[in-house]
């Protein structure tokens, strides 16, 4: 990368450290942090959307829709989520390939036969011949969908609770003013529910951050993958030989997560103060008292 790093075996000390940390593999490692942040940036709004829909469905007056919403919410209770992660990734993958096989394969045989899942070569997602970049992107896409489904259920639970927590008198008053059900929902319920949902959502955000190493289990080359790769001991055959440094790489990851979660905590504390303004909660009351 840098001219000074052309011959790694001849350099020492700080230069060696600098060259080592800017080697091609390390740059990939730094990019994988961006992958993690991208996952968070995509998953958080997606899960929020799924959760909002789930909670709204659970409150629906049409029984089948309300059941669907409730099943979605209770799905995550009692079962470890890692099982959902392992399950959804395979299930989504096979489902996609089955749908594609209906379109592109002739014959259309039922793919789940005995011990094998078999679709024709053209129906593979991504195609066997695709570049590894596509495989990585596909893995990442599956991870995003899986995270959104699982975390959507958690969010739905929080938002459902928050909607129930909005004082009933407020909704009745709105109805007495002649608002339709949709208007009550849009103008009264949704704006007020956020303050009740915020602590739960903040908690979920922390948990989402801490769930990102699961990307590794889903086969994406994430920070855990690179920490293991780069940290493993390297013999003289490598450009930068060193002993087993995985411990230090994982310590680095630990610090990354600690900084990230504690920063988030502070942001949420601020946000909560903001949202409590003028609300009929103890937090809002305390603020009014302090101002007076």
């Amino acid at each position: 990368m840098f001219a000074a790093c052309a011959d790694p075996k001849s350099i020492e000390g700080l230069t060696w450290g600098f060259c080592y940390l800017t080697s091609g593999k390390h740059v990939d490692f730094y990019w994988s942090f961006v992958v993690v942040l991208a996952l968070l940036a995509i998953t958080a709004p997606a899960a929020l959307g799924m959760g909002f829909m789930g909670a709204t469905a659970a409150r629906s007056h049409i029984a089948p829709i309300s059941w669907l919403g409730k099943i979605y919410i209770w799905m995550v209770r009692g079962i470890p989520d890692i099982i959902f992660f392992l399950f959804f990734v395979i299930a989504l993958d096979q489902g996609l390939e089955y749908l594609k096989s209906l379109a592109v394969c002739d014959g259309g045989a039922w793919p789940w036969q005995g011990l094998e899942f078999r679709v024709c070569q053209e129906a593979k997602v991504p195609l066997g011949a695709s570049s590894s970049g596509w495989h990585q992107a596909y893995g990442f896409g599956l991870a995003v969908v899986t995270f959104a489904i699982v975390f959507g259920a958690f969010v739905a639970n929080v938002i459902y609770g928050a909607m129930q927590a909005v004082p009933h008198a407020q909704l009745e008053t709105a109805e007495a003013y002649g608002m339709s059900r949709a208007q009550v929902f849009r103008r009264i319920l949704v704006p007020q529910m956020w303050v009740y949902a915020l602590p739960g959502l903040g908690n979920l955000w922390m948990i989402l951050i801490k769930a990102t190493p699961l990307l590794f289990l889903l086969g994406v080359k994430d920070i855990v993958y690179y920490a293991r790769e780069l940290g493993g001991s390297k013999t003289q055959a490598y450009e930068y030989p060193h002993g087993d440094w995985r411990l230090w790489y994982f310590l680095g990851l630990l610090v990354f997560y600690l900084v990230f979660t504690s920063l988030s905590e502070r942001v949420f504390a601020r946000l909560s103060r903001r949202l409590s303004k003028g609300q009929a909660t103890s937090g809002g009351k305390a603020m009014r008292k302090a101002a007076a």
């Binding site: 919410i73 995550v76 209770r77 009692g78 079962i79 470890p80 989520d81 890692i82 099982i83 392992l86 399950f87 395979i90 299930a91 096979q94 789940w112 011990l115 094998e116 899942f117 259920a153 958690f154 639970n157 979920l204 948990i207 951050i209 801490k210 769930a211 990102t212 190493p213 699961l214 590794f216 289990l217 855990v224 920490a227 293991r228 940290g231 087993d244 995985r246 411990l247 994982f250 310590l251 990851l253 630990l254 997560y257 600690l258 979660t261 504690s262």
Partner: protein, 289 residues
């Protein structure tokens, strides 16, 4: 060679701890095999969960009290302990512990001190033969123990802070101070207030045990936990729709069992209160650490 279901149970019920038939089924998987082997793997989930919770309860109490201390020399370490274990993914903690346990033999001095300090010296048992296994199992257990201690300490610390002031004043009026006040009033009240949260933590911890074999601690000679066998079947049959729901089923049963036991304790902790003031256990959805 086909076995009846009862024969399968006899052969594989304790496979995860190395008793019974050694060879895992390779083809013609039956539902019975899946149920038996995954159930056998649950032994490990129970082992990790029960031991971590039992030891963790004591450490959590100690840390909660330390976090409440006025002396910063006591308070700060407790705060950091809770921050580190609650602020980072359990997954990373597992990896770190695993690497640390691998590196440890290279520093005989540290190893000897650790053996002397910790009563759980199995962790660092140096015999090469079975050493690796005990190391992995005890290492994972150590992480789960510290992790649950941190989470539970936070719950108990919150409970300690929310003890009604009137209770403490009443205790003082009765002449109870210091240690007596703590053991008769503060501690039971803390447990009572924190118990519903602690119940959720216990369920949560059992769920976290599924991460053990996915986090560097390898399963030796195919002795793994429930998820390990579920993964084995899913890999072999290309069909996730059977083994994972089976794990789910076992965990729902386990969750019900934990709720029953902790509910009984909760009832005892609340026995002196009128029924409308009792703390109720509310199951909250369980989340990833």
């Amino acid at each position: 060679m086909s076995m009846t279901c009862w024969e399968t149970v006899q052969a594989y019920a304790f496979r995860s701890i190395g008793i019974g038939e050694n060879l895992l089924p390779k083809s013609d998987f039956t539902l019975c095999q899946q149920f038996t082997l995954i159930g056998s793997g649950m032994i490990w989930n129970l082992y990790f969960g029960v031991l971590a919770l039992t030891f963790g309860f004591f450490l959590a109490n100690a840390v909660a009290l330390a976090k409440n201390a006025r002396n910063p020399l006591v308070r700060k370490p407790a705060e950091w302990f809770v921050f580190v274990f609650r602020g980072s993914p359990l997954f990373i903690q597992f990896f770190l512990a695993y690497e640390a346990l691998i590196l440890l033999p290279k520093f005989p001095g540290i190893e000897a001190t650790l053996v002397a300090v910790f009563p759980v010296e199995v962790i660092i048992s140096i015999d090469i033969g079975s050493g690796w296994q005990t190391r992995a199992w005890a290492g994972a257990l150590l992480v789960l123990f510290l992790n649950t201690s941190a989470y539970a300490a936070e719950i108990f610390h919150g409970a300690l802070k929310s003890i009604p002031k009137g209770d403490l004043e009443a205790a003082e009026a009765y002449g109870l101070t210091g240690w007596k006040r703590f053991i008769r009033i503060e501690w039971p009240t803390m447990l009572r207030l924190g118990w519903p949260g602690y119940t959720n933590e216990a369920i949560f911890l059992f769920h976290a045990t599924t991460l053990v074999y996915f986090s560097g601690f390898p399963a030796f000679s195919q002795k793994g936990d429930a998820l390990y066998y579920a993964n084995y079947f899913a890999d072999k049959t290309f069909n996730p729709f059977v083994p994972y729901p089976i794990v789910g089923f076992y965990f729902i049963c386990l969750t019900l069992l934990v709720t029953t036991i902790y509910g009984a304790v909760n009832k005892r902790l609340n026995r002196h209160l009128p029924s409308n003031q009792r703390q109720k256990i509310r199951l909250r959805p369980n989340l990833i650490r």
